[in-house]
Every structure is written in structure tokens, then in C-alpha cells.
């Protein structure tokens, strides 16, 4: 499907995402102006503050977004019963975006006002202007062009960074970009990136135009200037105020998922089953990046998502790798209950562990079946691994030691890109996920982990105990979902979405119908 075809066919969704994106950017930039301009003014009055404040804004720009989200999500700040900080969704995304766009606004306000000709300032003071009159009648109007230039830079930065909002279910064009990266789908990536770039260009042009008319000053009469000001002030306050009305999840079951295809399918399966079987309303909060789903669960922002036993053991509990699946499951169940008031229910039935993959033709030509077989012939090979595999305790170092691997070259890259790189012979061996649909799509072969190096990653719903109490039918349903999926089935579902480009929602519904969990008919084709 070509890029334009995609846009045409999905124009409803594209417009929605553009709308979400604009919403995030407008509110964030509005709040950044309301915070940044007064701060910049304050710095001109108390120059001693300028170093620490500008330093802070500078540092904020360098904090990686996932780290910032990880810090913001657990916050739980209320103002008059309204949650104003913390959680997943637009609220946290906006806070992060505001922090990212403050620097150019503060800095330009500060330098714009400091740059006003001292003689003009002295003329104002000599005529008997108070500090406030000098600020509003002389300094701010003269610095306005520079301040708007700062807002312009902040807006463009904001349009770009707002794509990360998709990592915490805050919507925006980042959804397409992340989805596209995950599925190795350039059309999807473009469908997110091109509209985002266009928004940035248009915003830049509009604010550039505003900057020019203001600098020429003469074009705007005093009366219309006042009108313009009050208009801008009302708009800013409206935008910033709407931040406080971003809705919560009360009364509904919030189902989460991490940010890869399998998780979205599993999230849909959970959500659909809960909707149909318990009658509760469900809110879907999918595509949460990194371990943010866990943070969101702890913060009560979601009620349930599918976690993997190995991830719970290693990434969350920071415990040592264990090999026995039953022991791992028992351990995470006990520890999660004790530490987080979270419950691991019945395993879904499949194990999504690392899969050591090579091309089918190599497997055939060299007669390779196990990882040990590959280790013997791999001296000239180039291997590619995701960042995750390189750094985790059950990842590369132990793997290489256990099997005695010495590769010619190791490339550390985005996991989703390694499959294609392997298929295109830029790599010879990768560590993918055993359930990945791309394995079938590219005709890759999984080698047997004959030394049992990789710990188990059994997929299991993790649910808040509070949610189980609040929605009594939930427990029975989750039990019913126990053992419904084999590795092969999961791979097929993944391939239906990644390979055949079908909607996760449809794939999940058909699966549940086939398993007789919900009623309905599957279209035959």
C-alpha cells in the first residue's frame, strides 16, 4: 500500500491523530508560555537566579523521555479532587512537553528584555514610570519579537517531541511512528512523520509571520493591539486550563499493554473478553513504552496488562535469572502480592522468550538445528541484537559465555530492525522474540536453546488486587483465559497483524470467537 493510499483509506484516523497531536502541542506550548515568560521576566529582575533557572531548563532538555515518564507516572498530586500530576495519558505527556519546551521561552524572554536599549529604559524611568509600567509599556513590547521567536522554537521542538506521547497512551502521530517502527512498516512511519513535519512547518510559518508583524509594530493600531493581547491571553488561559479537565478512568476497567504488536493483540483479547463477559466498561491504554505499563499499574492508572514471568523476575524484581518456569511463576506471584498488591493470574500458555534466529537457507546449507551448532560455525558471522538484549542480565554476555560465541561483528540496534537486516543478509544471527510474526514473514529459523540458557517468559495477566475486588467477575474471566494460547498460535496472531497488516482488534475478536470465549461469527475468506 502506498503512502497516499494509506492516508486516503485511513483519513478519519489520521485526522484524529493530527487532532490529538495539535491538542498536546497547543496545551503544552500554552502552558510553557504561561510559565516561561513570567520566569524569564523574573530573571531580569533577579539576575542571580538566571544561572540556576536556565541551568535547570537546560538539563530538562537532556533527560530522556522514558526516564522522565518513569518519574512522572507514579506521582499522585491532587488539587481540589482533580488529579493534576502523575499517571499515564495526556496529562503526563503535557508535563513532559512543557518541561522540554521551557528553555527557549525563558531564555528568549530574558535576553529579549535584557537587550532593550538602556537609554530607552532610562528615558522611561526618568519620565516617572514604575517598574511595572516600564515592563508592560516599554520592555515587553520591545522584547516581543524575540519572545515570539522563542515561542516559535519551542513550538517546533514540541511538535517533534510530542510523538513520544504515544509511549504513554497520550495519542498523537507518534502512534503511527511507533507502530510503524515495530512492524517494520515504512508507510506507517511516514504516515506519522509527514503530518508531524507538516504541522511543524505550518506552525513555524505562522509564528514567523506573527513575529514579523510585531517587529514592524506600525501595522497594528493601539486598539487592535489591545484586542490581540486580550485574545492571546484568553486563548492561553483556556488552553492551560483545559489541562485540568483531562479525564480519569473512574468506574471502568483500564486495560494496558506494552508497545509491541503481541502486547496490543493480548490487550485487545483482554479488553474484548472483559467487555463481553463481565459487562464492565473498558478503557484501553495501549502502547506503553519500556516498563511504563508496570509503573501505570502501580499508580492505579491501569488495572490489568499481560506481563512475562521472566521480565517480572529480572526487570521489575531485579532478581537473579532462574531456569525453571514453575519456580519463576511462583516467585513473581508471591513477591508481587507482597510488594505491590498485584496478582499474577493463570498463565496464558505460551512462552515468549528470546529466539536465536538465522536464515532458513543457512540452516539448511550448514545443517544447523541448535544454538550449539551455530556457535561452532559463527566466527565469520555478524550478529545484531536489540539494546535490551545487550544490557539485560539474561542477555548477551551470559549467552556468549554459555555457548562460546565469538562473532566477527556485533551490531546493537532496534530489535524490530534486526529481522529485516537478517533477511537482507546484513546480519547472520539475531536474538528475536519466539512469538514474533516476522519470523514467519521473513522465513527465519529458530535454533533450539539446547543448553537451556534463556529463562522462561510465560505470558500472564497481572492485575491490581483492588480491581479484582471492585469487579468481582474479573477473576473468573482471567482464570478462563488460562492456557488458551500456544507459541504457534501467538506467532500466527502476530503475523496476522505484522505480516498481513490486519487490525489487532479484528484479529483478537476472531481468536476469542474461535476459542468459544465470546459469541459471534468469523468471516470466512
Amino acid at each position: 500500500m502506498s503512502f497516499f493510499e494509506f492516508l486516503l483509506r485511513n483519513r478519519q484516523e489520521v485526522l484524529e491523530l493530527v487532532g490529538e497531536h495539535l491538542f498536546l502541542v497547543a496545551i503544552s506550548t500554552g502552558m510553557a508560555v504561561l510559565i516561561g515568560v513570567p520566569l524569564g521576566i523574573l530573571l531580569t529582575r533577579k539576575p542571580a537566579l538566571s544561572k540556576p533557572v536556565l541551568g535547570f531548563a537546560n538539563i530538562m532538555q537532556t533527560v530522556p523521555s522514558l526516564a522522565l515518564f518513569g518519574f512522572l507516572i507514579p506521582l499522585n498530586v491532587y488539587l481540589f479532587e482533580v488529579k493534576i500530576l502523575g499517571g499515564i495519558g495526556p496529562r503526563t505527556a503535557i508535563v513532559a512537553l512543557v518541561l522540554y519546551s521551557l528553555l527557549p521561552i525563558i531564555r528568549n524572554t530574558f535576553t529579549g528584555i535584557s537587550g532593550v536599549d538602556p537609554a530607552i529604559r532610562e528615558a522611561g524611568r526618568g519620565m516617572g514610570m514604575t517598574d511595572r509600567q516600564l515592563l508592560f509599556q516599554v520592555e515587553l513590547p520591545l522584547a516581543l519579537g524575540v519572545i515570539i521567536a522563542g515561542v516559535r522554537v519551542a513550538t517546533v521542538i514540541c511538535v517533534g517531541t510530542a510523538t513520544i506521547a504515544a509511549a504513554i497512551d497520550a495519542g498523537g502521530l507518534g502512534r503511527y511512528i511507533f507502530r510503524g517502527l515495530r512492524a517494520n512498516d515504512n508507510v506507517l512511519i511516514l504516515a506519522g512523520a509527514v503530518p508531524a513535519a507538516s504541522i511543524a512547518l505550518v506552525a513555524d510559518l505562522l509564528l514567523g509571520y506573527l513575529e514579523r508583524i510585531i517587529q514592524f509594530g506600525g501595522a497594528v493600531k493601539a486598539k487592535s493591539r489591545r484586542l490581540l493581547w486580550s485574545g492571546a491571553a484568553v486563548l492561553l488561559l483556556f488552553l492551560a486550563g483545559s489541562y485540568f479537565f483531562i479525564g480519569g478512568t473512574s468506574g471502568r476497567v483500564a486495560v494496558g499493554s506494552k508497545d509491541f504488536t503481541e502486547q496490543v493483540i493480548l490487550g485487545e483479547i483482554l479488553a474484548l473478553a472483559i467487555e463481553r463477559k463481565t459487562g464492565s466498561q473498558v478503557i484501553r491504554r495501549f502502547d506503553l513504552g519500556g516498563n511504563l505499563a508496570h509503573d501505570a499499574l502501580i499508580a492505579g492508572e491501569i488495572d490489568v496488562y499481560i506481563e512475562y514471568t521472566g521480565t517480572g523476575l529480572l526487570a521489575i524484581l531485579k532478581s537473579k535469572p532462574l531456569k525453571d518456569p514453575r519456580e519463576v511463576y511462583r516467585l513473581v506471584k508471591v513477591e508481587y502480592a507482597k510488594r505491590f498488591n498485584l496478582e499474577w493470574t493463570e498463565p496464558l500458555g505460551f512462552n515468549n522468550t528470546f529466539a536465536i534466529l538465522i536464515r532458513a537457507e543457512d540452516a539448511q546449507k550448514l545443517g544447523l538445528k541448535t544454538v550449539s551448532d551455530a556457535a561452532r560455525v559463527s566466527r565469520q558471522w555478524r550478529a545484531g541484537f536489540g539494546q535490551d538484549f545487550m544490557s539485560r542480565p539474561d542477555g548477551y554476555p551470559g549467552f556468549a559465555r554459555t555457548y562460546g560465541f565469538h562473532f566477527q561483528e556485533i551490531r546493537e540496534m532496534d530489535l524490530s530492525l534486526t529481522y529485516r537486516a537478517l533477511a537482507e543478509k546484513q546480519l547472520d544471527l539475531i536474538a528475536g522474540n519466539s512469538t514474533d510474526g516476522l519470523i514467519s514473514r521473513y522465513g527465519l529459523v529458530q535454533l533450539d536453546d539446547d543448553r537451556k540458557y534463556f529463562p522462561p517468559y510465560d505470558a500472564v495477566p497481572v492485575v491490581r488486587q483492588a480491581a479484582l475486588e471492585k469487579h468481582p467477575k474479573l477473576r473468573g474471566l482471567l482464570k478462563e483465559l488460562g492456557g488458551i494460547l500456544t507459541v504457534d498460535e501467538m506467532r500466527k496472531l502476530n503475523y496476522a497483524v505484522d505480516g498481513e497488516k490486519r487490525q489487532a482488534k479484528d484479529v483478537a475478536r476472531e481468536f476469542l470467537i474461535k476459542k468459544n470465549i465470546i459469541a459471534g461469527s468469523v468471516p470466512t475468506n
Partner: protein, 254 residues
């Protein structure tokens, strides 16, 4: 209270935080309606002296009195609104029109808009600028001389009893400068205001000054009618007198 005294300096010194003295023990009385020209080289302390009057600076020793009241007792904002202030042409607000520039102080004082408008037009006419042509222009659309006239109009706007002028004509070409000096002298005679006028141009001092105060290294070394400068034996006074004579003879030769 002596009604004839407008501004008095009593043993006034001004030192910077680093100890450098810009003005030392100045005693001076300026009468109502008088124009005192502070003459001196760059950095001699003339501008410092002027800024002590409208409290842009506060004396480190002694006191300055305006209308018999110490500047320390004046609210600086109230004081400044009773004192017109003209600095070199850059003092006009570039984002305001000519009329808006002139109306700044009346607006701060809360005049009603009709009165402000009339006053701005009256002042423009007084300074030889056609209100219909100039009121809506921006400073960058004016010539240097026109800008300076607007600067003077702005200082006169709220009809203050005292006007301070800090080298107001410094940036003008010599011809415009002479024209505006004589126009200003004319205006002076009509308005009867107390003026303190800072310049390093000795001819300007002679044209405009009722008295001339010669300032050197933070001290007033000579104070009196212009003729006194020409008679003095002080080397600095003679240097300025020399300039005056040379300019005069050059003019005669031409």
C-alpha cells in the same frame, strides 16, 4: 521656604560602589525660570549631577532639594513626573507613534483621552511639527531634528515646572542643530521653566544658558553668567573660551 529656588544642591557627593567619586561636595542653587547649562568634557560629572535631580541616582553625601524638599523625601515616581527629561534621540520609544510618545506622562497621570490628544497636537504645533503629518508616524520615520523636537515635546507634555536636558541636540548635524537651538531659546522665553541643560558644546551653552556651570573631574570649578567664562583665568575655562572664539572667528571668516 524660598519660592524663588527651584533646585538646590547642599554638599552633594556621589561615589560608586567601588569608591570612585563622580561628584564631590557640590553646592548650587538654581532659581525658578532659570536655564543652567552644565558644561564640561565627557565624563566630567555633568550627567551625574543631572540624574541626582530626578533621583535616577541618590547622593552618597549631602542632599538635593527640589522645590525646597529633599529628594529623599520625594516619592521618586511623583518627583519624576514633575520633571521633564530629554536625552539624546534614542530616548523615544520605537514601538510608539509620535503622538503616543508625547502622551506617555499624561497617560501615566491618568488624563482623559480627549485632553491627551489635544495636548499632543498643541505641543507638536508649538515645536513646528504639523500634527496631521507627524502624529501617527513612528520615530524611525523621522529625521534627527524632528525626533529631537518630539523628545522636547514629550518632556513638556504634562507641563512640568522643571526640565532636564542631557545633550539633547548632540546627535544632530550642525545646521539643524543651530536651527533647533534658536527655536528652543524662543520656546524657553515663552515657557519660563527651570531648565538644567547638559552639553559639551560651548556655543550651545552661550546661546541657551542664563548661567553656565563648568564641571571638571566631579567638581564645579566655575559658576556664573556666560561672560564670566570668557574672563576666567582657570585653564579649563580658558580652553572652552578658546573653542568659543575659534568657532566665532571661523564663522566670521566664512
Amino acid at each position: 521656604m524660598d519660592a524663588a529656588k527651584s533646585i538646590e544642591f547642599h554638599g552633594v557627593s556621589f561615589r560608586l560602589a567601588d569608591g570612585k567619586t563622580l561628584l564631590s561636595s557640590l553646592n548650587l542653587e538654581i532659581s525658578r525660570g532659570e536655564t543652567l547649562v552644565l558644561l564640561g568634557r565627557s565624563g566630567s560629572g555633568k550627567t551625574t549631577t543631572m540624574k541626582l535631580i530626578n533621583r535616577l541616582l541618590d547622593p552618597t553625601d549631602g542632599e538635593v532639594r527640589v522645590e525646597s524638599r529633599s529628594t529623599f523625601d520625594w516619592d521618586p515616581i511623583q518627583l519624576r513626573r514633575r520633571i521633564g527629561y530629554v536625552i539624546q534621540e534614542i530616548g523615544l520609544f520605537p514601538h510608539l507613534t509620535v503622538a503616543e510618545n508625547i502622551s506617555v506622562v499624561p497617560r501615566l497621570e491618568g488624563w482623559d483621552s480627549e485632553r491627551i490628544k489635544d495636548r499632543a497636537r498643541e505641543l507638536l504645533r508649538m515645536l513646528g511639527l504639523d500634527p496631521d503629518r507627524f502624529a501617527a508616524r513612528y520615530p524611525r520615520e523621522l529625521s534627527g531634528g524632528q525626533r529631537q523636537r518630539v523628545g522636547v515635546a514629550r518632556a513638556l507634555a504634562a507641563d512640568p515646572p522643571v526640565i532636564l536636558l542631557d545633550e539633547p541636540f548632540g546627535a544632530l548635524d550642525p545646521i539643524t542643530r543651530r536651527e533647533i537651538q534658536f527655536e528652543f531659546k524662543d520656546l524657553q522665553a515663552r515657557l519660563n521653566k527651570t531648565m538644567v541643560f547638559v552639553t559639551h558644546d560651548v556655543r550651545e551653552a552661550f546661546v541657551l544658558g542664563t548661567r553656565i556651570g563648568l564641571v571638571k573631574d566631579g567638581k564645579m570649578i566655575l559658576l556664573g553668567p556666560p561672560a564670566l567664562l570668557l574672563e576666567s583665568d582657570d585653564p579649563e575655562a580658558r580652553a572652552f573660551a578658546q573653542c568659543f572664539h575659534e568657532a566665532g572667528s571661523a564663522e566670521n571668516a566664512a
